[in-house]
Amino acid sequence: MGLPRVSILATTEEAAPAKRAEDKVSDTFLQKLKGFSSDDLFEFLATSIGSLVLVILIVTSVVLTRGSLAVFGKFGFGFLTGTDWNTSLGSESYGALPYILGTLVTAGIAISVGILISLGIAIFLSEMAPSFLRSPLSQVIELLAAVPSVIYGFWGLFVFRFWVRDYLETPLSTYLGWIPAFHGTATGYDILTAGLVLSIMIIPTVSSVSKETMMAVPSSQREAAYSIGATRWEVVKLGVLRYGRSGIFGAAILGLGRAVGETMAVTMVIGGTPGPYVLPTSLLKGGVTLSSLIATEFGDATGIHLSALFGLGIVLFLFALVINVFARLMVWRVFKVTGGIVE
């Protein structure tokens, strides 16, 4: 027992005896190298994989930019403002304006109709629904989000289109046909139908995010409103909608992002062919959107035509980037504030 007991704690530098390093820099470097354990490797690996998303976004922007160089080189900004879309060799001419507008108009319809319905659902779910209805209802809404977009398209084309034509467009064109926006024959194969199908598709996103925002409104806000004698509706208006408005706004923008990027359902019901004619002057006209044009023409495109489709891609990419960054920031801010996490 007289011997001092020396406990040997395993050190990470056991293998290599410590060396007096000549200068400080290499010393710390050496130590770092020696101190490199399996945990550091794990962290490194996880971090690299985590960074993959950054790589994907960078590569996407590079690919789109390189692909669209040709069309921007030839037409410059005229590509964005032009309305011609001529793919015949020799007389090729590409202008993206009708499709940019087509995308904006359909997404605009989607969001203005979608937000109303979604807010109704969200208010109902968060404020009014009896608790036994809440969970099944949210489940059904979630299922709505699970339906593939091509099925929305198929249903839109063979079922919903005729409802729109008979119950919405026919009266519109008959009684309000003098307004340019409702010019045209009611076919149901047009911008209005595309926008409405989109509005149904974004309901799950918008309503669930708004619902979560509303649920995150502290009950003190509601109680404050009740305490000054507000009715139920006034409570929703004052306490909930006002308090959660930036979250709801964020949810709407998120829905807009989905609507802008959605391809198949729109392609199936919007019914236009590219060219100056599809400038969206009337809701009852066939249209073409950025994504629907890419989907329909990408397969046979070569040369400058393909480059033009990449050009559409880059416009879509930028739209989506701006919208989503904006929406995420809005939604994040709300949850950060109401979650009580101060950074």
Binding site: T47, A146, T263
Partner: protein, 267 residues
């Protein structure tokens, strides 16, 4: 509510008439009707097979990567860089899928000369699925109480072992829920597939071969409306796709009822 009911009703009503053994097991074929017109007959087994292969391939690619990325966000992501990655991940998860199609077309199909193939389609779907798996994994890991992590660390277990064997194993049902729901979601994707898988009327002979998929088939059938039988086949294909997607969803949702709300809200 009404749209969902109507979609389900119409898909079941119209799709059921298309169902037959031949439809489920056969390859596409044209027949001549007694009237002299051509009509679409045969089955969509090729598309069913393609969709299942793509789902499997995508899961194989995206789940491991997404798991690790989720682990990164949950365990090492509490800093500036981690927050940026989380943000970009959320942005990517809402990205137009057709843009992903263009990306994979340029890099794989043309760039690396892989050609239109099941593999290219699987990669495209993986890029769509990756951010979802990443976030659901992160959320599930965050549900693991600190005390469990502490217990593992106090046993002198290396962090990576503790993360894999203790933390992930505790979080596994949430992780599996997220992975299954995201597979269900990508199984209905069609836009990126239009640009990556080509088309095929034959059963798959290799992942580098062109392939067919249910969503793409439905889209093509909808535009071949002039051929008689196409619409009916389209409804049939839609029925199979929706049964596939909704069954997967319902099964997962019922199995995890009332749990993993945070995970589910990421899908």
């Amino acid at each position: 509510m009404i749209p969902l009911a109507s979609i389900l009703f119409e898909v079941v009503r119209n799709g059921a008439t298309a169902l037959s053994v031949q439809f489920l097991t056969g390859t596409p074929a044209l027949v001549t009707l007694p009237t002299g017109n051509a009509a679409l007959a045969g089955g969509i087994a090729v598309s069913i097979e393609g969709t299942l292969v793509l789902m499997g391939l995508t899961a194989v690619i995206a789940v491991p990567i997404g798991l690790l990325a989720g682990v990164y966000l949950a365990e090492f992501g509490d800093n500036r860089f981690g927050r940026s990655i989380r943000f970009l991940n959320d942005v990517l998860s809402e990205f137009p899928s057709i843009v992903i199609g263009i990306l994979v077309y340029s890099i794989l199909v043309v760039g690396l000369r892989v050609g239109f193939s099941a593999f290219a389609g699987g990669v495209a779907l993986s890029i769509i699925m990756l951010p979802i798996v990443t976030r659901t994994t992160e959320e599930s890991i965050k549900l693991v109480p600190r005390s469990v992590r502490d217990a593992a660390m106090a046993l002198g277990i290396r962090k990576w072992r503790a993360t894999i064997s203790v933390v992930l194993s505790t979080a596994r049902s949430g992780v599996v829920t997220g992975a299954l729901l995201s597979v269900a979601r990508i199984s209905g994707e069609s836009a990126p597939l239009l640009l990556t898988i080509g088309t095929s009327s034959y059963f798959l002979s290799g992942l580098n071969q062109q392939v067919d998929a249910l969503p793409v088939r439905i889209f093509l059938l909808s535009s071949e409306n002039y051929v008689s039988g196409a619409q009916q086949q389209g409804w049939g294909a839609a029925l199979i796709l929706i049964v596939l997607v909704l069954c997967l969803n319902l099964a997962v949702r019922i199995a995890t009822r009332g749990k993993y709300g945070a995970v589910r809200s990421r899908i």
